[in-house]
Amino acid sequence: MSKQILRDPIGKSVPRERARRFVTGRGRYTDDTAALRGLHAAFVRSPVARGDILEIDCQAARDMDGVVAVLTHAEIAGLYQPWRAGNTLLPEMKAPEQHALPPARVNYVGEPVAMVVATSRALAEDAAEQVFADIDPLDAVADIETALAPDAPLIHEDCGSNLCVILTSGNGDYGTPFKDADLVIEDTVDFGRHTACPLETRSMLAEYDPSSEVLTLRISHQCPHQLQAELAKILGLGQHRLRVISEDVGGAYGLKQQLYQEDVLVCLAAIQTGRPVRFVADRLESFASDNHAREHRVSARIAVTKDGRITGFELDDLFPIGAYPQYPRTSLGEGNHVLRMSAAGYDIADFRSRLRLLFQNKALIGHYRSVGHPVACAITEHMVDRAAAALGLAPETIRLRNFLSDDSYPRKTPTGVHLHYLSQHACLDRLLADMDITALRSEQAELRKQGIYRGIGIASFVELTGTGNGFYGPGGIDVSGQDGCTLKMEPSGHVRCMPSVTDQGQGTDTGIAQIVASVLGVEVADIRVLSGDSEITPHGGGAWASRGISTGGEAAWQAAQTLREQLLMVAGHLHQRDPETLDLSKGHVVDAAGAQISTTAEVAHICYFRHDLLPDDMPTELMVTRHSVPRVQLFQATNGIQAAYVEVDTDTGFTRLLGHWVAHDGGTLINPKLVEEQIRGGVVQGLGAALLEEIRYDEDGQLLTATMADYLVPMASDVPDIQVSHVTSGTAEGVLGAKGVGEAGVAGASGAVLNAVNDALGPLGATVRRLPIAPRTVLAALGGAAPLTAAKTSGSGR
């Protein structure tokens, strides 16, 4: 069939259909669906971080008006399968059993211990207050030192230790001295625990029809097929009797990617009561029981020669993951990416890293947008800057001397990451030009004379996008690395498009429609995209690892090509032309000269209603499904670089962002406007992580940040305009050449800010080694105040 090139509307910033719905208040988020005779769930949650459940007395609650059911472990034991978050590729990893409601021991503040189902949420909450949960508190393991101490209380006695797993990576033994180094610098950076904090909290509505034994779960989730498969297993239902619908999702960012206890409980309650059961987490519940992310203490060593060649890099990541690994993906991803992606863009002969996952009595640590990459980037770039400062080199100079060279691809990093092509040099050039580094530096120097401390920080990163199933499938975890797309052409020539990838604001639906429109020669408006329904769409990954367009778009491209070939074959027969010479354009079949031969709708109509005009053996179906999975490499690795310009008030410790720049390689851009605001959105989340956001617990594991007044996220006035530039290079996979963009913004932002603040404080001899960089942290670095949590290690190189 005739060759296809990328053409209109690929590359155009067409507006999103969902955008219009949302702006007019017509979103269909989970809690917007009414349910007749619906019930509401509320949870009794543990007030202590660790304790033994002595008794749960529900009688008073059961007696209350409007209460339909009160469930504790005793009521539901045997009705579902408990789960363990492990990976069979790592048999040594400890994967404690997790229950929907704990049978004997609570392990974090906010862990559900009983569930009340009543006719309204308010009544359910009233009744939950009447449940008497007698929990005998035990000493909690709330910080890294306690978890590692030899006499530490064991969070999971059957695990024998609070160490979940140790991993190492690289091309040498961890702890070996570096060769060929003129200078070795050591340092430790602490990364605070934060959370994705989507504006729409976790929300679900389960309905069970006992006559057909079908359970329908509407849920604000990123991966409906994954959830369908897991719930079927846990609840003992056939996968075909479970339907998971995630239509509009009010933000997810990795937080809505896993299975939560409440998901199972709400389904169980719907099955038990035969009535719809709804649960919407309130904000307090979100802070207490959503997955958190990124608590890391990373110690690193960098070895350099006098002329600025990095010869060695070593890091040690202590990663406390909370009470359990998250299910089903485990909490390994975050640490594993720190292990593998640190220094991935540099040509370093001697690289090794070690990761230790620790249990602690806090909420679970899971995936959050750009899993692990921001930590990998920040620690690497912090160390590179420290080396540059020690050698008196400009930050860009040391990077240029050590970036992987543009003509060295494809290649593998010392940790086994396959890189097909990176554009680090082009991105750096672009960034420096965009920010006008020379002017910025002279402004900085000028203001310093007046006692105004401004800093410029750059941070380069390599990221994995559109990941295949190399780690999950072979590890016994049913997370799909492939994504599919079904296309159905209606007799009218209009198209229904059903991708397995889901859209929670990225605009994936529109990007996919653009790809299909390009191949089929129709308008985007002639395509209806239906995503987020596990019963209708092909099985696939959903939204994770920036895969929407890089993987889902490729599947859509292939499905559209097949449909196109089918239409051209029928048209060729009808018009006695060689299909190879025909094309689809503007709703028509056209010849090589572009002359319109018939409308596409006429061909579709004939396929459905006029088989008499076609030979008996000519296939006429206009419904196609294709799947795509990265095979050449397990992901589309790409890269980018960011810069931050900050001003630090040395009296108050307050850091103000003055400017932020991004140069990123997203490959083919299907819709530049969507890409840019995706990247900016990520940057702002990264800026939040750098300066504001922290989930804090006290030493007893009590949650201290329980409202949005305690947990600060960036508001419009906290951030500057962000300049985004695109650099485009090739990929190994597929036709489209689109790489993931959803996580790039987060990946580099905190590293850039960390370096900028340290650049600002440089003349004062102070270094910040803790994120978020709260005023107290800055003042502590300046010697004026105690930090919130003291970093135990400090640098030796300065």
């Binding site: 949302f22 008006d65 989507p198 504006l199 509009d248 419009a716 305009d721």
Partner: protein, 165 residues
């Protein structure tokens, strides 16, 4: 113990409604659950996020901080109505064309706040827009496209009036 209830008469988006609701139920939930205006979103229920922003007697307010009884006799406008009004249609179009939203959950509140800003200030600076919208939390966008959409609308309105944009 049965739940204390209250009868509330109010006008929403031009229609008269009488609802009987628990006295402790806040207005955002009444609008959503009793009257079906699900464009009113609830993100925090403690007055911080701005997702529940509505207009009460012409002024912007947070639906989660007002109880049903306090809105007796009030005229309330939600995004479903405001977005269809001639006076806001340009703002709605600018949000769409600038892609000033992603998941859309903050958007109803954001649009209503932005409309109030433009009613007060015809020629805001980007900083003023950022400051005004700082009671509305958006977790998805980088805010920049939202600022672009507001600036574009302001410029369009000034051009319409014959003022130089």
């Amino acid at each position: 113990m049965s739940e204390p209830m209250q009868r509330v008469a109010l006008k929403v988006n031009g229609e008269h409604h009488v609802v009987t609701v628990p006295t402790r139920k806040h207005l955002a939930d009444i609008l959503r659950e009793d009257l079906g205006f699900t464009g009113v979103h609830v993100g925090c229920e403690h007055g911080v996020c701005g997702a529940c922003t509505i207009r009460i007697d012409g002024a912007i307010a947070r639906g989660c901080l007002i109880l049903g009884g306090q809105s007796e006799g009030a005229e309330i406008e939600t995004i479903e109505y405001l977005s269809s009004q001639p006076g806001t249609r340009d703002l709605v179009e600018a949000f769409v064309s600038e892609n000033a939203l992603q998941c859309g959950f903050c958007t109803p509140g954001m649009v209503i706040s932005a409309a109030a800003l433009l009613a007060e200030t015809a020629d805001p600076t980007r900083e003023e827009v950022r400051a005004y919208l700082s009671g509305n939390y958006c977790r998805c966008t980088g805010y920049q496209a939202i600022v672009d959409a507001v600036m574009k609308t302001a410029a369009g309105r000034r051009a319409e009036k014959g003022e130089v944009a």
